[in-house]
């Protein structure tokens, strides 16, 4: 691809991303927030086993665990982060 074509593609890509940012980025963020709040519940029901307090029968925990483990590190960051009211505005 020539330098000129690259520049042209770059410009249109930038415009596309800008329009996405104006129109849809917020929607994507809120969709992620909704999914994250569901994940909180999902992880909390398996958390008991990790702490040694069985809440669900171990069979179900074991079935859920493979889906939960990849999320744990980001979940910890979300749960332990200090939050306040202004977080809801942006």
């Amino acid at each position: 691809m020539s330098e000129k074509q690259k520049k042209k593609g770059g410009f249109f890509q930038s415009v596309k991303e800008f329009v996405y940012g104006v129109a849809a980025h917020d929607s994507a963020r809120f969709a992620l927030k909704t999914r994250a709040s569901m994940e909180h519940l999902f992880i909390l029901i398996t958390m008991g086993d990790m702490l040694g307090v069985p809440i669900l029968p171990p069979y179900y925990s074991l079935r859920l665990l493979p889906y939960v483990v990849p999320q744990i590190s980001t979940w910890k960051r979300r749960m332990l982060r200090e939050k306040d009211l202004t977080d809801g505005l942006a």
Partner: protein
């Protein structure tokens, strides 16, 4: 003067501000480092902390900060003449506006993505956090009042706008259903739903509200205030994907297209300013200083931006070098939007008398008239263009209003649930926020409401700059570039709020008011007094923090020159 010169001046100020001043601060004082990890990378949680492309953040930041504020402020402020308004928009953005937006993002980014509540707790004092959050609650109430008033006055003044508003809402709700439930292609969804909104604009011309509802209902402020708060109620209690987000999505296209073609229209028509460059030092809402400096808020400097920059943008910047283009660059773009509004107000009327008659009915009518004229230059019939402008105005105001009502519902639950668990109920929380807002909308005079909103907004900006200054002092960096704007904004806004609350409460205690005006003046007067007291307490806490940081820096051993 020709409007093109105003746009050229704006362009020159933006280039100088961005390429020279902001670049100097970014490279020499903040020392932005492309290799330093940002919170978006360090604390990536896949939700709020997420590295995001700079181009997407341009759009996100612009959409989040550019509501009705940069448009209405210049339309009102031109009552002092277009020259003072022009000077304040250019100078305010150059010396204060970008400094505020950029530094709010930087301070949050360098403090692990903390929001302003956390930063005030960490940098100033635990008490500062509680005062700041109470301040923000009342500041948001004034936003609801001021923006609600704009929606109501536009719906009353422009009879074609309610139909367009209704159709855009229907298009938005359908967009939510199509995207999230029926999984229909996003481009097809966009074409259909934006098309529905356009049909609504056309129907607004054919079936204005006075023909559909009759004159008395079409002119009823109560009716449109209830409609606005019912809209906000749905936005607050329904899942966000079902109402709020898709309506905003469709509205974004309407607003974006209107602005782009409106600016093209300015270049085609190249109109001359017809209103006087300067009228007088004092007009009915007050003197140039301090009142004009708070009337034009978002186009010059706005506290709202600090909340967006710190709690939103700072957590998504993937590189420190992006803070200047996103934080500062988009503020200069918003300045251009304010100049567009100034051009509209300054060029479309034949005389000051015509303008005064139009603005007395509300700023929405002036904006719609201007958009209609400039869209007409690109081929849209004048009547349609005017309705297009009116629905732009309504959605620029109501998208912020519904976000704020939703937020106030959460805040009401947080603040009052200890008194009674009933405040945790989403409907009760929304009702509390809506009733408070509606009282302001119905009883407050819109120009005073706008000045109070502007005052609270600018005061929020000065408090944000105070946090930035405290951080700069704590880091041993030069702080004058943030501290001088902070002092100017603090003194100006305290003076504006005191002046306005004195005027409001003098009428209340003078016994000259009755009914709605008495309620409105009392509520507005005491709200602004509360904001002043909260800001003074915060300033005193901030001053103690400065002294503490200075003493700590002085006590540290200095590196030897030997």
């Amino acid at each position: 003067m020709n409007a093109i010169y105003v746009l050229i001046m704006g362009f020159v100020v933006a280039v100088l501000g961005y390429r020279v001043y902001a670049k100097y601060i970014d490279s020499k004082i903040i020392q932005a480092d492309p290799n330093r990890m940002t919170p978006a990378k360090m604390y990536m949680d896949g939700v709020e902390f997420m590295p995001t492309s700079r181009n997407i953040l341009y759009g996100y930041q612009f959409k989040s900060i550019a509501g009705a504020g940069p448009i209405i402020g210049p339309i009102i402020a031109i009552q002092w003449g277009w020259l003072p308004a022009l000077v304040w928009i250019l100078a305010g953005t150059f010396f204060i506006g970008w400094v505020h937006d950029y530094s709010s993002a930087i301070i949050a980014m360098r403090n692990d993505g903390a929001s302003f509540g956390g930063l005030s707790h960490r940098l100033i004092s635990p008490r500062a956090r509680i005062i700041l959050l109470s301040f923000i609650y009342f500041y948001l109430l004034l936003i609801v009042g001021a923006f609600g008033n704009v929606v109501v006055s536009t719906a009353v003044g422009l009879k074609g706008s309610p139909m367009a508003w209704l159709f855009l809402t229907i298009g938005g709700v359908l967009a939510g259903q199509m995207i999230y439930r029926w999984k229909i292609d996003i481009i097809l969804t966009t074409v259909i739903t934006v098309g529905i909104a356009m049909v609504g604009i056309f129907l607004g011309l054919k079936a204005p509200s006075n023909q559909v509802l009759g004159d008395s209902l079409a002119n009823s402020r109560w009716l449109w205030a209830i409609a606005a708060f019912v809209f906000c109620y749905f936005a607050s209690v329904l899942p966000i994907w079902r109402f709020s987000l898709p309506v905003n999505y469709v509205a974004a296209y309407i607003v974006f297209l209107g602005l782009v073609f409106g600016v093209i229209g300015v270049f085609i028509l190249r109109p001359e300013f017809t209103l006087p460059a300067y009228t007088s030092f004092k007009i009915p809402i007050g003197p140039i200083w301090p009142i004009m400096f708070v009337t034009i808020a978002c186009g010059a400097v706005s506290g709202w931006h600090s909340i967006v920059s710190s709690s939103g943008t700072a957590r998504q910047l993937e590189n420190e070098m992006d803070a200047r283009p996103v934080g500062a660059g988009i503020m200069f773009l918003e300045m251009m939007l304010a100049l567009f509004a100034l051009i509209i107000a300054g060029t479309i009327y034949g005389s000051a008398g015509e303008y005064a008659a139009a603005v007395a009915k509300g700023p929405g009518g002036v904006f719609a008239e201007g958009v209609g004229k400039f869209l007409n230059a690109v081929g849209l019939p004048l009547g349609l263009g005017k309705i297009y402008g009116s629905v732009m105005m309504i959605f620029l105001a109501i998208t912020i209003m519904q976000l704020v009502v939703r937020f106030m519902r959460v805040a009401t639950a947080e603040l009052l649930s200890d008194i009674s668990p009933i405040f945790k109920n989403v409907h009760i929380g929304t009702l509390v926020a809506s009733v408070l807002g509606m009282v302001l909308v119905i009883t407050g005079w819109w120009q005073y409401l706008w000045v109070l909103f502007g005052g609270a907004n600018q005061l929020m900006a000065s408090l944000a700059l105070m946090l930035v200054s405290a951080w700069l002092v704590s880091q041993g960096k030069p702080a004058a570039w943030a501290m001088i704007p902070m002092i100017f904004m603090f003194v100006t806004t305290i003076a504006a709020l005191l002046y306005t609350s004195y005027n409001l409460l003098a009428k209340v205690f003078g016994g000259t008011l009755k009914g709605e005006a008495l309620i409105g003046n009392t509520l507005m007067g005491f709200t602004s007094l509360f904001l002043v007291v909260a800001a003074l307490v915060l300033a005193s806490e901030g001053f103690k923090a400065f002294r503490r940081f200075r003493a700590m820096r002085a006590a540290q051993p200095q590196p030897s020159n030997a």
